[in-house]
């Protein structure tokens, strides 16, 4: 049943949402970086676009990155989807990177720049 999405006994299944505090053993957030015509890289902070709210972008980026990094025969198709999405968000860029920002949340409260970055996907 799980592959059909009917794995939950009760259809309104978000009753066990936030079962544990999110990010207690280190948080991980995906961020879109883009390269301008001069070759400089920019970190894109989520801002609403005409067809995507901030939340839409956050969920879509996360799910597309997960699909792209999963080891399946469809990786090329998923990369194409991710690229399409990146172009929707930042249309005139030379290249894109999806960067995972990892941090300890309480440290971030002391200094908002205390996070590590790892490039997860690179798209030309």
């Amino acid at each position: 049943m799980e592959h059909l999405g009917f794995d939950q006994p009760y259809p309104f299944f978000h009753w066990h949402l936030f079962a544990e505090p999110a990010g207690w053993d280190g948080a991980r957030i995906y961020r879109l970086y883009w390269q301008d015509q001069a070759g400089a890289w920019h970190r894109r902070s989520p801002a609403a676009r005409p067809n995507y709210t901030k939340k839409d972008q956050s969920y879509l980026l996360k799910s597309l990155v997960k699909a792209t990094t999963r080891d399946t025969p469809h990786t090329e198709r998923e990369r194409h989807r991710l690229r399409t999405f990146a172009r929707e968000i930042v249309p005139r860029a030379q290249a894109y990177r999806v960067v995972a920002e990892t941090f300890q949340p309480l440290m971030l409260l002391q200094d908002t720049m205390r996070y590590d970055t790892t490039t997860v996907v690179h798209l030309e």
Partner: protein, 393 residues
């Protein structure tokens, strides 16, 4: 054992268990008392259902706006996220299909306004709203924000909604259906509450890691959530300032939610559960940026006890001429006499609770928490027993 369970399910004992009132001489409601109670429930259910239909008009308007946004996205981005969406809309629905469905749902909604009891219209409306939201689930998220709204429509198919009248022969059935309708919806919160106990136990015993009893838990979750949108971390700083009270709030909420479905039968308890639901979702909006505004609106519309403040409903009820409270402890007795001569009688703990309820639902509300009647009744008996020898000296 099975026979006993079955007889409990079928008997007055289940009703007594759910209502928190014993089916013995301690609570004797007259026919007028029962009719008043049924009228209150049936009217509240009726007004709530009308309110739900009005909210649905706004919801459909909002969906139109959202769908225009979604439809403008490249088709390749759409990938149905739930089983039902994979079955119904494996690829993004074309405009005629989607707006046709939309029009059909709008017509069903209009019919429901005029003929609320027409099951076919209710069913089309319920299926319609579920299908209308499905394309939204094709972009990496399965939104939980609309679930109370969708569940309300699905359950409403089985709700015999009609304008209650004092002479309705099926008034009791309508009140009973309203009880179960609300209980079904509130059961979501009961599961959430019970899950918290279950989950905490597992975490302590097996899994390990941080639990919500750690004062830092909410601060950390708030930072993780808000950072995703690059919001300034002002709110987490406020949360950090009051972090010691958060585990207490968590435990309180788990206890309140675990009994949430009983509020459908023990209506004063709604005055605790409803603000708790609203506050919980409001906290999620502010602290975690989970935008539950529509859930709060749906919960308020569905569960507000309209009979407490709508004069038109109160005019339908048989007024009582006078009430009398006598005695103390287990011997306490509360009588409520109606203008037509009927009389309700409550004894012991139930005399105190009903007396308080007639004065203020809010004050009486905590007394409807499950188990409290059982404990208090025993305490009152002990108290009487302890007092008895002293009185004879």
């Amino acid at each position: 054992m099975i026979r006993r369970l079955w007889s409990t399910l079928n008997s007055k004992r289940l009703a007594a268990l759910l209502r928190g009132e014993p089916a013995d001489e301690r609570v004797r409601r007259s026919a007028t008392g029962c009719r008043n109670r049924n009228l209150r429930v049936a009217w509240s259910g009726y007004v709530a259902d009308r309110g739900l239909l009005v909210l649905t008009v706004l919801w459909l308007g909002w969906r139109l706006k959202r769908h225009a946004m979604i439809a403008a996205r490249p088709d390749v981005l759409y990938e149905p996220g739930v089983g039902l969406a994979r079955l119904v809309f494996p690829s993004f629905p074309s405009a005629p299909v989607y707006y046709g469905l939309f029009a059909l749902t709008a017509v069903a909604l209009l019919v429901c306004f005029l003929r609320p009891r027409l099951v076919a219209a209710r069913a089309v409306l319920a299926v319609g709203v579920v299908l209308i939201i499905l394309p939204e689930f094709g972009y990496g998220k399965v939104e939980h924000i609309n679930h109370l709204f969708l569940a309300a429509h699905v359950y409403a198919v089985f709700l015999p909604v009609r304008r209650p009248a004092r002479s309705n022969s099926d008034l009791a059935a309508q009140a009973e259906a309203t009880h179960w309708y609300q209980a079904g919806l509130l059961f979501i919160y009961t599961m959430a509450g019970l899950w918290k106990f279950f989950d905490l136990t597992i975490r302590y015993a097996v899994k390990g890691g941080m639990t919500w009893l750690n004062p830092d838990a909410m601060v950390i979750t708030s930072i993780t959530s808000l950072r995703g949108y690059d919001f300034p971390l002002i709110i987490p700083r406020y949360v950090a300032a009051i972090k010691e009270v958060i585990p207490l709030g968590y435990v309180m909420l788990a206890f309140l939610f675990a009994a949430a479905f009983l509020a459908a039968f023990r209506r004063p308890y709604l005055l605790i559960v409803l603000p708790a639901i609203a506050a919980f979702h409001l906290m999620n909006i502010v602290v975690l940026y989970v935008l539950f505004a529509s859930t709060i609106a749906v919960a308020l519309v569905l569960f507000l006890p309209y009979d407490r403040f709508v004069p038109a409903i109160q005019r339908q009820l048989d007024p009582f001429r006078h009430t009398r409270f006598r005695g103390r402890g287990a011997q306490a007795q509360y009588r409520r006499r109606y203008a037509n001569g009927d009389e309700d009688v409550f004894r012991g703990f139930y005399a105190y609770r009903e007396h308080l309820r007639d004065r203020s639902w809010l004050m009486a509300a905590p007394l409807y928490y499950p188990g409290l009647a059982w404990i208090t009744t025993r305490v009152l008996r002990r108290w009487d027993f302890a007092r008895a020898p002293a009185a004879s000296e």
